[in-house]
Symmetry: C2
Subunit: 455 residues, 2 copies
């Protein structure tokens, strides 16, 4: 057994390759890439300049070039597609699975799409791609592939194996054969295992499982992911409104969906507005971060105005200023904790989820408990360790308690409201909740102080 | 085709089921659960009391009970395992795949494990479970299954199909048959497709792919996930130090790993110290949240001390207090953004990652750009819109600029340091970075003010 050629993937090799490309040392390039896994070649191309990547893509066999293209990062791919000819890209698309081909075409403008489509000779592939282009990117229809094995319920095992033989060239991976009636409607599935283990003349309908889980074309990809994870499916058939089998989604596609959604949520939580990678340019990264920072700054400026209103009280009781960061930070932390729990449970919704009222009640009880612990702790430190008068300790403690309750409420309601309006609730766990809670926290803090300290 | 019985999964059904259990209405219970997918039954049991769950588990067929157990939430499972007899659990474990059996046994104490093991009659299953118990939970060895199909390189297709037939009962899903030599060392793999398409007398060695990607038993599960995702693998063989084939990991196991790691990171970012679900008790949720809140509060109390040092300057220039939340919040937001990018790239490491110095340089440039934009913006608002003297506007603007640079540096270095010491870097993106940056931000703010305002 040979391990994959991992050792080649070093910065040294990258530099050697680049100088090889510079002097068009084709024999060396082809030789050094031979046997390297396509995902690794794509990782190498992601590091090269666009013109260098295109040089390599044109050098290798067309099928390999097509396979590499699919594995490239989106921003590398975009640059490559801008530079290669329509004719070239059409010839590569013909060698891809239809879902990958549709993904590539969707990078182009409408006019360019027409030109590419005109260059594709394979009519079946073309029809499949055109059909896939109709679906929204993030739905079952948008991520499904048209390459799958279908058997008529009246066929026997031999006929089915012949169909597999016929299609084996087009279909890379298959786990199940889907069984349809004459109207192409989905009836059930047969595993490859079952086919191997059954006698040649067995009719497919008699060995199929008829309790097959299918998804409609319009289902959101996140829901498909939840379903496949819940029921441990390695692939799932996609049907249209008339239950006609139109495609299938495999678990490796879903792995990408889960990873992407997780990264998206994490970025939303961190207040980064676009999908960025560490390899992006300084300007791209800066641009993706500025909007939320600006919102935070505007929140801070509003906070300054708010504190300005209490300047009279502040001048009488200067120590009030010292505890501003404490109140603001705690409000932010409580808000993020509360919202992340809601975000998490919204992402894995079940039939038995709590109602909004149950959520509020539970959130309230948790906040009550934590608020009391933190409030008493802060009172003790301020009044006894720091040596302020007890009434000031009470003020800070009570303010903190109120802020915990309020922030927890905001952290619970914000993601629910965003979710209701179809916005990714994860953005509620980021700078949004911190900024809102900072302002609310300040208002509560100074309000409590005015009352208890008679300012 | 029957869809899965989704309609049954309602709160009404749950209540009906509970009253059915109360009066031991066994016919109704069995009837209503017939044909319901095992994952859905587990979801129902997660909602029941422990004694009710056990009633259902004892009522249904043993194989179904075993399948349900595997699908339960960890906290439901733990309660159920405490209540059922050792003999019972042993009989269920015998009906599970070895990896699931090992998972269940690992919930018990050493003494109880011995008792369970003594009750397992199936010697092969027992050996497999004992082997799996030796591996760390989060490694390839810990998540692999012992059920897979192995063929000797000298066998022909018919012999291999016979082996498949022999093992089909034990192995639920298989995509590839692994090819070994007489020492059980991994040589390659053959897809089921290839076997179906080859003539009966073909020797396996001649149709196997010898460039098979395998993982060692000790590899971290996250690395296995990255590898399977990168190379689009539906299953990967696990080998020991002598390249002996000892197990295999399928992509649906990895889907769970990816989801779990993402949830873990998100909770770490949100400052929640343990794996909690919305359905956990108020005390459990409160306990998981308090530690980071307390750290935040202690940070806030330290901030109060820090501001106390500058009380003299503050009393001369009261407006300084107003901009404390602005500085603190921006520091926190910048820190989270910077650290989340590092966390993300640490999670998907490649051969071409930037060196720490390149990371710092890039982070510095982004911070420089954002710091200038935000600093100038704040200066303009403070000096012109809010009508403070220009020197005060400059003070707040410059302080903000410095805070952005410093927070970005902290956000970059903290996850790298944590990662270096083997701690999950995602916790650096949460309250930890906010608290640290709050303090640093305050120090910088008042330092700049002292200098520029001559306090």
């Amino acid at each position: 057994m040979e391990q994959i050629k991992k050792f080649e993937l070093s910065k040294e090799y990258l530099e050697r390759l680049q100088s090889g490309i510079a002097v068009q040392e084709t024999a060396y390039i082809l030789d050094s890439l031979a046997g390297v896994n396509v995902a690794d070649i794509a990782a190498i191309l992601d590091e090269l300049d666009t013109s260098e990547s295109i040089f390599v893509l044109r050098l290798v066999e067309s099928q390999l070039a097509a396979d590499i293209l699919i594995e490239l990062y989106d921003n590398t791919l975009e640059k490559v597609l801008q530079e290669v000819k329509i004719k070239e890209i059409a010839s590569w698309i013909q060698l891809m699975d239809s879902d990958d081909g549709a993904d590539i075409i969707s990078f182009y403008s409408d006019k360019e799409r027409e030109e590419i489509i005109a260059e594709i000779d394979d009519r079946i592939k073309l029809e499949q791609i055109l059909e896939l282009l109709r679906y929204e990117e993030d739905t079952a229809g948008g991520i499904m592939a048209k390459e799958f094995i279908r058997a008529n319920k009246n066929w026997n095992v031999v006929q089915t194996i012949n169909e597999i033989r016929r299609q084996a060239e087009n279909v890379d991976k298959f786990y199940s054969i889907y069984v349809v009636n004459n109207k192409q409607q989905l009836l059930g599935r047969v595993s490859l295992k079952k086919i191997i283990l059954s006698a040649s003349e067995t009719i497919i309908e008699n060995i199929m499982e008829d309790e097959v889980i299918s998804v409609p074309v319009y289902m959101d990809q996140e829901e498909v992911a939840i379903l496949m994870r819940k029921y441990d499916l390695e692939s799932v058939p996609v049907v249209n409104a008339k239950n006609k089998l139109v495609g299938r989604i495999t678990v490796d596609d879903i792995l990408d969906v889960v990873q992407e959604e997780a990264e998206e949520d994490m970025q939303a939580m961190a207040g980064v507005s676009a999908d960025i990678e560490e390899s992006d340019s300084v300007f791209t990264i800066s641009k993706a971060r500025l909007p939320w920072l600006l919102i935070g700054v505007i929140g801070g400026l509003m906070g300054a105005k708010l504190i300005g209103f209490f300047e009279g009280g502040l001048s009488k009781y200067l120590a009030l200023a010292s505890f501003i960061p404490l109140v603001a930070a705690t409000g932010g932390n409580v808000g993020i904790q509360a919202s992340s729990l809601i975000v998490q449970s919204l992402a894995s919704k079940s039939a038995f989820d709590d109602t909004p009222w149950q959520r509020f009640l539970k959130g309230f009880l948790v906040a009550l408990l934590n608020g009391i612990v933190l409030g008493v702790f802060v009172f003790l430190v301020v009044a006894y360790l720091y040596g302020f008068e007890p009434v000031f300790g009470v003020t800070v403690g009570v303010a903190l308690f109120c802020v915990v309750l309020l922030s927890s409420f905001m952290g619970t309601i914000t993601p629910l409201v965003l979710h209701h309006f179809g916005i990714n609730p994860a953005i509620a766990s980021g700078p949004f909740i911190t900024t809102t809670n900072d302002l609310l926290g300040l208002a509560v803090y100074f309000g409590v102080a005015m009352l208890l300290l008679n300012l």
